[in-house]
């Protein structure tokens, strides 16, 4: 079935033998010209997509998935160029189309929904103006009234109920979800045959993401639009598309029906992805608990042939075993009725955190889960004394934070350390790795020069980074490596508590899995207590013993992790669980 004459070639069986694919990409090659010469970003990609089908391209950042999407509509950024191959849309090779022909194809035949709703609408024009201009450009309607009517229709279709009222408003007056709806409406405004959605919801909160994807799905089904999805989330891809194309380093490594790939991944890279995807892992953990030793789980362990493959289930199980005997000791952190009120000029007070209470037993992990604006990070900052407390109590190691003297606070800082979200902002770009890791030691006057250097080496070993990094600067490191350095810095003073504020959120899944594993190992080794702040419930399943679900500044549900996943009591928790991509997939059956 597979030919290897020219690298890769998607073969498809056509029983009828006559239906022509809507989109056929053959041996596509895209290159970028850089100072060091030409760089091939997409190499020999084949994709076939039939009318009415949905297909998802999955890959990590840099895999070439977005570049492929941009190549189809010929809107490659900067020096990007199609260097070879064909893109056949409805029988016509559009990779060689003229500018004029391409303008006619864009919008009319191929609609496009971009990734980031915040940057994809022009801030100086009203929503109505931007939708209407798309309608006019594609000749869908003429005359002011008709165009306006169509704009309202399109936006209503996209789920913007009060569209007629909001036409005159500007993008900054819309929320992210609303903007994404506008972008979807715009992409579909000329009723295209093919809609390309490039990570259409990855910038949005999970619950919003789910609503919008549901809507997009039903809308395209209704209109008979063929859908090409670009996403980094394997669970989401499998849930939303019939066909899957997995890309790695500019090439297609595996493609075919979604479920089949998920259940039976063949290429080692796909196996890695499946094993590392938190959304899928939490599914599989559920099936394990229910006593169905699923096929997927077994596949996961078999994959262990490559040393780099990390199975999140193994991580989760190791954690569960280690913490069984934890309960007896006094809690490391007690938070009581913690409240934070921000004074906002012109619009009064805003209660970011509202009477939050929880305890974290020593040596365990408690996850604080919530969407943006839920107040979870504010809790972390108050705990770290980076933000003042409005009211309530925080007791760490038996001491009330509010009663600490300057000296006591300074000592406490050595026992409680943070790791933050943004790997690119968490290290000072002008200080080398050695200085960064040893700063806590210098600040607290620990040891002399030689012993500090030895400690830096030890820490680098602990986070599995080469000692040679000592003299180097953060700009040479990847996001995951920077987070490792941030973890090493946090561990320098041998703290008891580590606050992980979205520490793995910005990372690709494989790297994320690796860091999660590292965190679990370090916890076991050093008896650390973690407060794990995240928006991603799926990750929680892997790492946390207890979960507190936050919504609008309050904790709405708090329980042991398995209980939350098995028997959620609050509607909001149920919504969050349902919004985990891939949550509805039937795996291991």
């Amino acid at each position: 079935m597979t030919s290897t004459v020219n690298g890769s070639d998607v073969k498809h069986t056509t029983p009828e033998g006559e239906e022509r694919p809507l989109l056929e990409i053959k041996d596509l090659k895209v290159q970028f010209t850089t100072q060091e010469g030409k760089v091939t970003a997409v190499d020999g990609v084949d994709i076939t997509l039939y009318r009415g089908q949905s297909l998802a391209i999955v890959g990590e950042s840099g895999s070439g998935k977005s570049t492929t999407a941009h190549a189809i509509i010929n809107l490659l950024p900067g020096s990007g160029q199609i260097a070879g191959g064909q893109i056949i849309l409805d029988g016509q090779d559009i990779s060689k189309a003229s500018k004029k022909e391409m303008e006619a194809i864009r919008g009319r035949k191929i609609g496009f929904v971009p990734q980031d709703p915040m940057s994809n609408l022009n801030p100086v024009w009203s929503i109505g103006f931007q939708v209407e201009e798309a309608i006019r450009a594609n000749g869908i309607a003429t005359g002011r009234k008709e165009v306006r009517a169509r704009a309202i229709e399109v936006l209503k279709q996209a789920g913007l109920q009060d569209a007629d009222r909001r036409l005159k408003q500007f993008p900054h007056q819309f929320s992210g979800g609303m903007r994404q709806r506008v972008l979807i409406g715009m992409g579909l405004s000329a009723d295209p045959q093919l809609l390309i959605a490039d990570e259409p919801t990855s910038a949005l909160d999970v619950t919003v993401q789910r609503v919008i994807l549901d809507h997009l799905e039903s809308l395209t089904r209704e209109l008979g639009t063929t859908l090409l999805f670009i996403t980094h989330d394997l669970g989401l891809a499998a849930e939303r598309a019939e066909q899957l194309v997995v890309m790695y380093k500019g090439r297609v490594v595996e493609s075919g029906p979604s479920l089949e790939i998920l259940q039976n991944p063949q290429h080692p890279y796909t196996q890695r992805l499946v094993a590392a995807a938190p959304s899928l892992a939490s599914r599989r953990i559920t099936s394990t608990i229910h006593g169905q030793e699923g096929a997927a789980h077994e596949t996961g362990s078999e994959v262990g042939t490559t040393t780099d493959t990390i199975d999140l289930i193994a991580t989760a199980e190791a954690r569960a075993e280690a913490h069984e005997a934890a309960a007896a000791q006094p809690p490391a952190i007690v938070v009581e009725d913690l409240t934070k009120v921000f004074k906002i000029r012109g619009s009064g007070d805003f209660t970011a955190v509202d009477k939050v209470s929880f305890e974290i037993p020593k040596g365990t992990t408690t996850a604080l889960v919530g969407e943006s604006g839920s107040g979870k990070s504010t809790v972390a900052k108050m705990l770290l004394k980076l933000e003042d407390v409005t009211s309530g109590k925080i007791i760490v190691g038996g001491k009330d934070l509010a009663s600490l003297t300057g000296k006591e606070l300074f000592d406490l800082r050595s026992r409680m350390q943070p790791v933050f979200q943004d790997p690119y902002g968490s290290l000072n770009p002008l200080r080398n790795i050695g200085n960064t890791i040893s700063e806590p030691l210098v600040t607290h006057g620990v040891g002399d020069r030689a012993s500090r250097r030895a400690r830096v080496f030890e820490l680098l070993d602990q986070v599995s980074l080469p000692r040679t990094l000592v003299g180097r600067y953060p700009n040479e490191l990847s996001g995951g490596q920077r987070q490792r350095i941030a973890i090493a810095r946090a561990l320098a003073l041998k703290p008891e508590i580590v606050v992980l504020d979205e520490a793995v959120s910005a990372l690709d899944v494989l790297v994320q899995a690796q860091i999660l594993r590292l965190l679990a190992d370090l916890q076991a080794e050093l008896d650390l207590t973690y407060l794990f702040i995240t928006h991603d419930l799926a990750v929680v399943r892997v790492i946390a013993d207890n979960v507190c679900v936050m919504q609008k500044g309050r904790i709405v549900e708090a329980a042991a992790t398995d209980d939350v996943f098995e028997n959620p009591t609050e509607q909001y928790t149920k919504d969050l669980l349902a919004a985990i991509p891939g949550a509805n997939l039937q795996l291991g059956a």
């Binding site: 609609g111 450009a137 900054h172 007056q173 992409g187």
Partner: protein, 309 residues
Amino acid sequence: MAGYIARRLLQAIPVLLGTTFLIYFMVFAMPGDPVVALFGDKTPPPQVLEAVRERYNLDKPFIVQYLLFLGGIFQGDFGVSFSGQPVSEILAVTFPVTLQLAVLAVLIEMVFGITIGLVSGLRKGGIFDASFLVVSLILISLPVFVVAFVAQFVFGIQLGWFRTTVGPGAPIQDLVLPAIVLATISFAQIVRLTRASVIDTGGQDFVRTAASKGLSRRRIVPVHILRNSLIPVVTYLAVDFGVLMVGATVTEGIFNVPGVGRTLYQAIIRGEGPTVVSFVTVMVLIYLVINLLVDLLYAVLDPRIRYAK
């Protein structure tokens, strides 16, 4: 929008008080007899000295002097010139001329600056872009009086295209050469600003999205690229007017244009301190008003400002 205007006006008050105070302070809080210092090595007739003393209430405490000075400004009393003529009277004659010159200069620098900046930005790295980068660097390095003299020498004296001096009651076409000279000061800055802004905007996501909707390049460039790129250029206008004031003083002086700038120029050259102070005060006030107008224009251009609460 109303809230924005109100807030902006409110912010202008301390600046207005501060600047006038600062100018007053610079002159009258200095050690020694400020009136004598103002006249430098000149010895004006005693009645003039007396008039100045009385005018600035020098017998009263400093803060009272300042408040009376400020009160005078609000009543349109900017003081008396060296010859005893009220400054407001001189302004009535000279201001329209300067306004014509400034409007002409701003038009020239904006039209040419934005056009060239746009083309450079759209064809980044091309020959057109590269040559204007060099030209703009050279123009930025030339002080305005050098440009004025060279223009006067080449176009006025050697080629004879323009009259070298304008003089009172001259037709508006005589203002063209001084206006071009004045325009060169900021022209290069506007080219570079527009260019940078066009390149920046051109790489924005929404421009790609506009193209993905099926819009033609001919629509995207003016509607999505140029329109957004104008915002920083307009912001620059505020700074530009400060430069323009000094430029007008020099240019009007050299070309003998009978405007506010030349009056100040001559007062400076002749060492007529009180006139200098009055006119600098007037210019700073004009500058504040223009800044306010530019900020309002900015709000018109950028809905994010306009609709901010």
